[in-house]
């Protein structure tokens, strides 16, 4: 009996994976062929989705992207009865793991993604899952915290704060009413790594949270998951049930006598709730509004109790670190950026998808090597790194290594690892305007620089685009950027100047009006 894998990942489903799966089942029934279709997670090669795989003698063979209409032809070519390596079809890609895009990655956190059905706990364990937790159960909390610290793991949500320090702070607080809050409010445009992991390998996140609970003494974990991820919410909910039934969650975690429970809380569509203190407010049932610091959440977080707030990818990195040791993890990466990062390629790019790679990979490697350049085929102009609050880079910066410090030095940031590519049709004045617009739409409204500043920034960009007192208005934008950077309460307002300032700095001629239509260098500006 052939086993055919068709991802049920949301991205794959959005391009027809369900229809492909149905077509395969229907065709097999028609032809009376005994097959099993398994709905695995995604391998993260989105440009190949729906990516159909067939396992043969321990090797997975890939076909993609497969249209439902192509299923009969694939069957005709021998799908389900011929050795998959021998199938001659334009969509046949050979052994999945030999595809360069995947082969050249260093998958630690995402190693299991796409291999098995997400909720198959047995498969999870067979593929190395729970090894970290089993070791953690034998370790002291102090040992776990030290392992995390020694691994060099830093917060993957964007700020890059050393996880070990945060864990130690929470662990050092007295009392047992502490919380592990997983930030799964992945709101940056162009990012999808959290979702992909939760849909493909939910137990990995749960395992990481349990280890965090053991390390810090917290007995409750919450996953703040955005409502825009209904599939991830469903998968995580079922995964928690199964882990509870298996005794890995509940009053007696892994028979160690310790308690840990997890529940999923659904966000309500506010980007700002990805900011940790707003997320805590939201978890408390309040309006998603940023809290002033201090106190830091590690000391006074959810309901005023010590709270470990970590991103999905930070927590999901933990099982590997526990299983393989801090040293093994720290061997990846460079400088103070240890381990791997999930880069998410999007925008105008030929091969969009997830690339897990050790820190230090260059932007060029990612965009050109993995991504294959622009999708349009037009020349590359810029990429925005680290989400909508990240800086733009130009082609002269493409050889920068992906490393927190190196990027910061160059005026950019890594953020949550999103990379959005633009070709030379982009109008950077519009992109600067978009930065303010995004901030105006998503600001919680608590602090003045963000609440009013974003609106005024958008209006001033409109004046610049219209050629109205450009020089003075550019000065005003710079003053506003300085104010928002220094004066905002959180990173939302504080980082909005990043894309604005980088756009103005790298592409000054896009803002060079009066007479923008004459000076703008590309076709897009004609619409002005």
């Amino acid at each position: 009996m052939s086993v055919i894998f068709v991802p049920n990942d949301s991205a794959a489903v959005s391009v027809g994976a369900d229809d492909v799966a149905a077509a395969i089942v229907a065709r097999a029934q028609e032809q009376n062929i005994d097959i099993e279709v398994r709905r695995n997670g995604s391998r993260g090669m989105f440009w190949l989705e729906p990516l159909v795989e067939i396992e043969h003698k321990g090797t997975r063979y890939a076909f993609g992207p497969v249209l439902p209409s192509e299923v009969p032809a694939l069957f005709a070519a021998g799908l389900a009865h011929k050795s998959p390596g021998a199938i001659d079809h334009p969509k046949a890609l050979g052994p999945t793991e030999q595809i360069d895009y995947l082969k050249n990655q260093e998958r630690l956190t995402f190693a299991r993604c796409g291999l098995a059905e997400p909720l198959d706990l047995q498969a999870y364990e067979q593929l190395g899952g729970l090894a970290g937790l089993k070791l953690a159960l034998k370790a002291t909390p102090k040992d776990i915290v030290e392992t995390i610290a020694a691994s060099g793991l830093r917060g993957r949500g964007g700020a890059g704060f050393p996880a070990g320090i945060k864990w130690k702070t929470v662990a050092d607080q007295p009392g047992s009413e502490k919380y592990i809050c997983c930030n799964a409010d992945e709101g940056d445009s162009g990012t999808f790594a959290d979702r992909l992991l939760m849909e493909a390998d939910p137990y990995c996140l749960i395992e990481g949270m349990i280890i965090a609970g053991l390390a810090t003494g917290a007995e409750r974990g919450l996953i703040y998951l955005r409502s825009e991820y209904p599939a991830a919410i469903a998968v995580m909910g079922k995964a928690i049930e199964k882990m509870s039934a298996a005794g890995w969650l509940g009053d007696d975690v892994g028979s160690c006598g310790r308690r840990f429970e997890i529940e999923v809380r659904r966000g309500a569509g506010a980007y700002i709730c990805g900011e940790e203190s707003s997320m805590l407010e939201s978890l408390e049932g309040k309006r998603g509004e940023v809290r002033a610091k201090p106190p830091i959440p590690a000391i006074s977080g959810l309901f005023g109790r010590p709270t470990l707030v970590n991103n999905v990818l930070t927590l999901a990195a933990v099982p590997w670190i526990m299983a393989h040791g801090a040293k093994a993890y720290a061997e990846y990466g460079q400088g103070r950026s240890k381990g791997t990062q999930a880069f998410q390629l999007g925008g105008n790019i030929a091969r969009g998808g997830l690339v897990e790679k050790a820190f230090g990979v260059t932007i060029r490697d990612l965009i050109e090597g993995f991504g294959g350049g622009t999708a349009s085929g037009k020349p590359f102009a810029t990429a925005q790194l680290g989400g909508p609050l990240g800086a733009y880079v130009n082609d002269e910066m493409l050889d920068l290594p992906m490393d927190y410090e190196a990027l910061a030095k160059a005026g950019a940031m890594l953020g949550h690892g999103g990379i959005i590519v633009f070709d030379d049709q982009v109008d950077m004045a519009q992109m600067a305007r978009f930065a303010f617009d995004f901030c105006a739409i998503e600001s919680c409204g608590k602090c003045t620089p963000c609440r009013i500043g974003a609106v005024r920034g958008r209006e001033t960009l409109d004046k610049i685009i219209a050629g109205d007192n450009v020089k003075e208005n550019l000065l005003l934008v710079e003053d506003l950027c300085e104010l928002m950077t220094d004066g905002s309460l959180c990173a939302m307002g504080g980082l909005t100047p990043m894309p604005v300032r980088s756009a103005i700095k790298l592409f000054p001629d896009h803002f060079a009006s009066p007479g923008a239509d004459q000076t703008a260098p590309n076709a897009a500006s004609a619409k002005l």
Partner: protein, 950 residues
């Protein structure tokens, strides 16, 4: 805005103890840990610009005006949210900070109407002040961007509240109002609607305005608003006040301090004083806004007399009125004896005024026929606490509640009756304190936003003592007694007797559950919770005292506190929530027929000698008549003249027909009041009184705190009340005079040991003090019975539960109980003459849906409420707050006639009326009761004032 006289340090004082030294602009300052950088700088008189911060609220960090530079710290942190650390070096002003602050202000002003000169907050606006401080000269964004103030964008002003308006065009979204509603008031009525630039303050839901929302009009939001967004209507109409005088509210026993802010003699605004010991900057709708009665057109300012109560009133001179009164009183005494006249002191008046009246009665009338309205409210408190602890007063200050772990609240509804203290309770609960509510009704404190009582014991009215005995039984039989405390602090033999008594099976929760109407397990759980608390406190109101076993109940609570060791330190104690502003003071001042000032019995020759020497005459060693005795004697014909200082006996005392019959039987009824009240219908002399704004003296609140009452304006009547009393006493033949009110307090201090170190001078310079203020406690006594009880050792009293004789029958199957509502005050003489009536236009009868359905009653329907004493009609309100079998009404409107229904039953020890238990029947009715018809008919005639021409 708050009064500009009050300093604002930006963030609240820290309660920590450790000291931290830092430098601000190079100057060293030492502050306690937890102090914000902003507060430290303000303490050094280096104020940092701010808008969202104010020292009555926790720091919020939203405006970003208060950015500072800190050596070694990246960026420009907000000084309000940054706590000081040892050795920290702060820079409060630099070119970078100047540019940032100006930039923030530029953003603010780009969304703010530029109508400062015609704005209601002109000269009283922090935004305006700060724009000046940061030197904003230009708004480079222009004023034509997105905004909240132009014609197309503006939301109409919300004028729904009679006392303040909400103009969102002026709003800077600082959330101070929301935070005040949450942190200070605890109502959670306000919220921020929308996000980002669309953020907008909203009262209730988007369908609500302020009036229809949960807002209780405490004024906290208005006080903290830095702009004209939330502005007193009076400021809008009159402009900003020019002078202010700190004084004390004349409503309830909380005794809030206020800044009365005026222009000339026009009182524009009352703002709560942050330095007020009782209220610490908070207020309620009555004290904050309902002061208009003082200048109401109904106010009488000229003395009046009449031969018969059927005659119209004749305005006369003071001399004529006093001469008329003295002549009548003397004639009565000549014909019927010295004891045929007496008087009643008022808990609404100052200590000095009360002292004057009781002195007049004892010295000029020559008898002890003096009583006070505490007779009908807290007389059992006096009796019960004196028996057990040795003194007649609550044991704690209000602040004590911050340190309590479990509160028992019995027969009180603080969110309506004592709202400012209720806010303290709610704050304590939000910080983790637990609450047990003993009340038939599901009052707000049982459950409201962010608070919930752990136990609610909805007892049948009249079973208080049974509840206490059941709780005590659990404590004694489950080993929860604080044996150390009892052994060292209490009389052993009395405790032994009490222990045996309450341990009896007849006092077990199981035995009493049916009588109380609450399951035994609830009673047991409540007892355990209270007894195991580190700090357990008891707060109570008239639901305790106004019963036939009122005094027993007070003693039962005292027993419980002693048995659990909850006396003599902060966070514990027995705390009566006094109804009237000066009911504590009136009692302290010797208003009872058996007690001289300071609770010394008239038969005590030593005490009497002290007064006799000072006053220069012999005093009667026999106690005089209590109010009910006066009424009975009046009907008998042996008591024929009465001086009534500021109390409306005809409306407030039980069994109205009996009261009015007594009043009508007298030859000389003298009423001293602001208004022609119900009692004045039966009066022959009306002596116009002074409003609290015209008084000079002191009020003593429920925590024994002597607060100064300062004359904000001249007496509208031309004479102070104590001076009128002096003149009457002198006309009666006893020369009585003082140069000023301070001299009266000096006399009180001279003659009353617990007041020996009190003087107006000290209160003015050092602030309020809690008695005893004497050589042992020169600065007063926030917590009583520390280390030992006033009487030496605490005394346990046996408190057998004896059911009231007022029981339900087939004819009267429901129990009526009474209470108050937030917006109205007692008989309503003041609040009915303000816009507060908009919240409570009439008294209603609350009835459980089941009881209503049985009788075919719907909400809004008129119904007859009848007891064996009388009947009235009210409008029905079906309410699930009520337990089955119990109905409830308020008594704020004379026409409601709540006391037409109540009985003459009273407390066995003190005659405090049993207002809280009356067997009644309720049925639909479509016409007023006979009493109401009669009342309406009598109305015009008895209150008419003669035309001057006649």
């Amino acid at each position: 805005m708050n009064s500009i006289r009050q300093a604002d340090f930006g963030t609240p004082a820290s309660k920590k103890a450790a000291e931290i030294t830092l430098t601000v602009d190079g100057f060293d300052i030492t502050v306690v840990a937890g102090t914000s950088v902003m507060r430290a700088a303000a303490l050094l008189d280096r104020p940092i610009p701010k808008l969202c911060a104010t020292d009555t609220l926790e720091p919020f960090g939203s405006c970003r005006m208060c950015l500072v530079e800190i050596e070694g710290v990246k960026g420009t942190p907000a000084s309000c949210t940054t706590p000081v650390t040892e050795g920290m070096k702060i820079v409060t002003q630099s070119p970078r900070l100047e540019k940032l602050r100006r930039g923030v202000m530029e953003l603010y002003i780009s969304d703010h109407p530029l109508d400062c000169l015609t704005c209601a907050a002109n000269g009283d606006c922090e935004l305006q002040d700060m724009a000046g401080v940061v030197g904003l000269r230009d708004v480079r964004y222009g004023m034509d961007g997105a905004n909240h103030f132009d014609e197309a964008s503006r939301v109409p002003v919300d004028n729904s509240n009679p006392y303040f308006q909400f103009d969102s065009t002026k709003c800077i979204a600082c959330s101070r109002c929301i935070r005040a509603c949450e942190e200070v008031q605890g109502t959670f009525a306000l919220t921020m609607q929308g996000r980002g630039f669309a953020s907008m303050i909203s009262a209730g839901t988007s369908l609500d305005d302020f009036f229809s929302s949960e807002c209780v009009s405490c004024g906290a939001c208005v006080a903290v608003c830095p702009t004209a967004t939330l502005e007193e209507t009076a400021i809008v109409v009159h402009g900003v006040p020019t002078r202010s005088v700190e004084t004390t509210c004349a409503y309830c026993g909380v005794g809030c301090s206020f800044e009365a802010e005026l222009k000339g003699d026009t009182l524009v605004r009352m703002t709560p004083s942050k330095s007020g010991g009782a209220n610490e900057g908070h207020s309620c709708v009555k004290g904050r806004f309902a002061f208009g009665y003082a200048s109401h057109k109904d106010r009488i300012t000229a003395p009046m007399i009449r031969q018969n109560t059927t005659d119209p009133w004749q305005p006369v001179s003071w001399d004529e009125a006093i001469g008329f009164a003295a002549k009548r009183l003397k004639a009565i005494q000549a014909e019927h004896g010295i004891a045929a006249i007496g008087g009643v002191t008022s808990s609404r008046c100052t200590n000095e005024e009360v002292y004057a009246v009781q002195k007049m009665i004892r010295a000029a009338f020559g008898n002890n026929n003096v009583d006070t309205c505490a007779r009908v409210c807290h007389s059992p408190t006096g009796y019960g606490l004196k028996q057990t602890f040795g003194t007649s007063a609550g044991t704690q200050d209000f602040k004590s509640v911050e340190q309590t772990d479990v509160m028992v609240l019995i027969g009180a509804n603080p969110t309506d009756g004592h709202p400012v203290f209720a806010s303290r309770m709610k704050k304590a609960m939000r910080a983790g304190a637990r609450l047990i509510v003993v009340d038939p009704r599901r009052i707000d404190l049982v459950r409201s936003p962010h608070i919930e009582a752990t136990h609610h014991i909805p007892l049948m009215p009249g079973t208080n003592v049974a509840v206490m005995n059941a709780l005590a039984h659990v404590i004694v039989t489950e080993g929860l007694v604080d044996e150390d405390f009892v052994a060292t602090r209490c009389e052993g033999a009395d405790f032994g007797r009490w222990r045996q008594f309450v341990a009896g099976s007849e006092n077990s929760p199981e035995a009493l559950a049916e009588v109380i109407g609450v399951e035994a397990e609830t009673l047991r759980a409540a007892a355990r919770l209270f007894a195991r608390a580190k700090n357990g406190s008891i707060y109570y109101g008239l639901g305790v005292t106004e019963h036939s076993q009122g005094s027993t109940m007070v003693m039962a609570m005292a027993n419980l506190a002693m048995a659990t060791g909850n006396i003599g330190r902060p966070g514990v104690g027995i705390n009566p929530l006094r109804g009237q502003n000066n009911v504590q003071g009136a009692c302290d001042m010797g208003s009872f027929p058996h007690e001289l000032p300071g609770y010394r019995h008239v038969s005590d020759a030593v005490a009497r000698a002290l007064f006799e020497k000072d006053w220069g005459l012999k005093l009667d060693p026999e106690p005089g008549l209590r109010i009910p005795n006066m009424f009975a004697a009046a009907i008998d014909g042996s008591f024929r003249g009465i001086f009534i200082q500021g109390e409306d006996l005809a409306q407030s005392d039980p069994n109205t027909q009996h009261v009015t019959e007594a009043l009508a039987a007298m030859d000389c009824v003298i009423v001293q009041d602001l208004f022609l009240n119900e009692t004045a219908r039966f009066a022959h002399v009306f002596l116009p009184g002074t409003a609290f704004l015209e008084k000079d003296g002191t009020f003593t609140n429920a925590e024994r705190r002597l607060n100064r009452v300062r004359p904000v304006m001249k007496e509208a009547t031309g004479l102070s009340e104590w001076e009128i009393v002096c003149r009457l006493a002198s006309a009666m033949g006893y020369e009585m005079s003082w140069p000023d009110a301070a001299a009266i307090m000096d006399e009180i201090a001279r003659l009353t040991p617990s007041f020996s170190r009190v003087s107006h001078g000290r209160l003015d310079t050092e602030g309020s003090m809690q008695w005893p203020v004497n050589d042992a406690a020169p600065d007063g006594t926030p917590t009583m019975h520390v280390g030992g009880f006033v009487r030496g050792k605490g005394r346990f009293m046996l408190t057998r539960y004896v059911p009231t004789t007022e029981r339900t029958t087939r004819r009267y199957p429901l129990i009526l109980t009474t209470g108050r509502i937030l917006s109205q005050y007692n008989v309503g003489a003041q609040t009915r003459r303000t816009d507060n009536v908009r919240w409570h236009e009439e008294d209603v009868l609350e009835i459980h849906p089941h009881d209503a359905e049985l009788r075919g009653i719907a909400s809004g329907q008129r119904l007859s409420l009848a007891s064996r004493k009388g009947a009235t009609t009210l409008t029905a309100l079906i309410s699930e707050r009520m337990p089955q079998g119990v109905v409830y009404t308020t008594f704020h409107h004379p026409v409601s006639g709540a006391n037409v229904v109540t009985t003459e039953n009273s407390d066995w020890a003190t005659n405090c009326p049993e207002y809280k238990v009356t067997a009644v029947e309720v049925r639909p009715a479509n016409e007023p009761s006979s009493w109401q018809i009669e009342h309406e008919q009598r109305h015009p005639g008895t209150l008419a004032i003669a035309d001057p021409a006649q």
